[in-house]
Amino acid sequence: MKCKSLVRAVFLFAAVYLSGQEYQEMRINATIETRCKIELSTNFVSFTRSGQPTGALIPQNEPPVVVTVKTTTRRAVRIYARIVVTGDLTDPNSGATIPAEAISWTASGSGFNSGSLSKATPQQIGDWNRSGIYQGTLTFNFQDNTSYYPGTYILVVTVTVSGF
């Protein structure tokens, strides 16, 4: 009788001891997609000819354009920001044109490049090789020439960002 009680006590002790902890495992899954976006502080810049000598570089009238590129990308994938131009500066009243190549820009900021517009090829304004937020500025300049007729010329450019 004494023996049975003792064995019961041992089992009870073991059960209490073991049941003092319970656990369950849960799996967490997360998907991060390749994604990129570009933001510009303004969508308009202008240049004013004011009696500069031939070939003068006329800076844009407005403050520099702030460009923000945001991207989540895979390893070893490069992200490129480019300016695409499909035509020349055109005066809609006279039909006169000025080559898009007359416009250039100087860049500041990590990964940003200076360059000139080109109808032939989209021009790179920056490239990066990892996820993050990249901010820089572009200051556009117009290369004047006395052969350009007076007028109001317009050019629409497209800024793109993509990963390869």
């Binding site: 041992v10 003092g20 656990y23 799996r27 997360a30 390749t34 976006k37 895979r74 937020i133």
Partner: protein, 156 residues
């Protein structure tokens, strides 16, 4: 007889310590923990539009404590969120908010370090949801990430 009793004292705790604990629903004696679902997912989202991504489902936690002792529920991540292509997201970016507080409390996961999610004094029958979130960021590498989290209910 005395000898037999002595053997029982030595052997029984040793044998029982190898008793398997059911993986889905643990219930030994006076303590029970149920967690559903056993998997949650964070879908991709624009970090600007969704700075915190909610998990696809809240996690229902059901606790039964029949001890009259203090108890606590902890969550332990086995490591950081690891991607198939080598990406790493610190698991501390995963946090939860409870539907019932107390006994559940807010918290965030920490790699290999149990974090308190609920506590109380037994006996208790508790049922509540934990809503998990992932802090979103443009700094994350695109990848498919996963990690295991262990819910542990312990009587102190």
């Amino acid at each position: 007889m005395r000898l037999k009793i002595l053997w029982m004292l030595v052997l029984v705790p040793g044998l029982l310590s190898f008793a398997p604990i059911p993986p889905a629903v643990g219930h030994i004696g006076w303590l029970s923990l149920r967690v559903t679902p056993l998997s949650i997912n964070f879908r991709p989202a624009d970090p600007d539009l969704e700075p915190s991504i909610a998990a696809d489902n809240p996690v229902l936690v059901e606790i039964s404590v029949e001890f009259s002792r203090p108890w606590r529920l902890t969550l332990r991540a086995d490591g950081e969120l690891r991607g198939n292509r080598g990406g790493v997201i610190p698991i501390s970016n995963v946090f939860w908010t409870p539907s019932v507080s107390p006994p559940f409390i807010n918290g965030n996961l920490v790699s290999r370090n149990p974090q308190l999610a609920a506590s109380g004094q037994g006996p208790a029958e508790v049922r509540g949801e934990l809503n998990f979130f992932l802090r979103n960021s443009w700094d994350y590498q695109s990848d498919e990430y996963s990690q295991t989290v262990t819910f542990t209910l312990a009587v102190l």
